[in-house]
Symmetry: C2
Amino acid sequence: MDTKTLCLGALALQEASGYEIKKLFESTYAHFQGVGFGSIYPALAQLSEQGYVRFRVEPQARRPSKKVFSITDAGLAHFKTILSTATPAEHFRSDFLFLLIYAHLLSTQELERILDRQTEALEAEIAHLLEQRDDPRLTVGMRFTLDYGITAKQARADFIRSHRDALLAHHAKEPTCE
Amino acid sequence: MDTKTLCLGALALQEASGYEIKKLFESTYAHFQGVGFGSIYPALAQLSEQGYVRFRVEPQARRPSKKVFSITDAGLAHFKTILSTATPAEHFRSDFLFLLIYAHLLSTQELERILDRQTEALEAEIAHLLEQRDDPRLTVGMRFTLDYGITAKQARADFIRSHRDALLAHHAKEPTCE
DNA sequence: GCTTGCATGTAACCGGTTACATGATTGT
DNA sequence: ACAATCATGTAACCGGTTACATGCAAGC
């Protein structure tokens, strides 16, 4: 999904400023989508030109004033067509797996560190998702995405843990080609 | 990982042409890395300039001749430093999960189709990985990456299947905002 | 005094994807 | 005839990341 669609989606839930949209992508959407300010602001400007969103400038006490965007009827209609015609793809990129293919080029210590770091990283991500799960404002769909993420990450963490020792033992036996 | 490193990795396993490297990325590496010709050929040219790979032109009967690349000592050393210093990250992007957040904007039929398509897609990917698993030439590391992928995808497919009916029932009850 | 948070934006850069160009052979 | 496989490459394009620019307020 491109940034414009992502922003449209955020505004379909509630009106928000660019800054607030970014925060949404850092919390609820963080584990399956990501965008930076450098994409959000231009996207919002374009959506505004196209008439899919409108905005009002809201001054704030002891804060810089913000541009609060909200979706228009045309924007919502457009968003729905995107949803209906989209082919929902999933992409997974892993440098961790790439490294493991070349385990024989690493020392046993390095391999052990990589394995343990990855498990820790996954557990940390799971903990983060678990925290969000308690929020009573979550919709059914949001809770589904969180649980989907938790399940997938847990499966991977468990897999590494259950293969760790065998992998390490096998690696120690083989002559490391360094 | 950038394309250059990926190519270096492919050549660390065996010598190959650009075309053959592409095939490797379409089979063994497909589920966690991906590259196209448009990246591979320029990457190989750069690696050659840097002295990390060398190549010979191999003419073939009733086939266009190919450039067979192989890694140099400098290339292998460089590859090892990359492996040792790399922070192995994993990235997951899902348009499927994005769609699910907006399930209330879809009809029950559309939701059902999305859910079932995703399950089928995952099962197909699992079947593909399972096929590769039989190859006796696989290294321990490669088998690990395949099993990691299978486990993760299976967990997701199972999750969708076990939540499908509840999600659909809940959706049918709610007034669809279309 | 320094960092963090709130708040918006631009510009350069980088890298990957897509399309195009070429060309022989094999299978439908 | 037409599509697919083998085989290499270039060029345009597109979009996201990073860095930069600005500025105030609150907390450490």
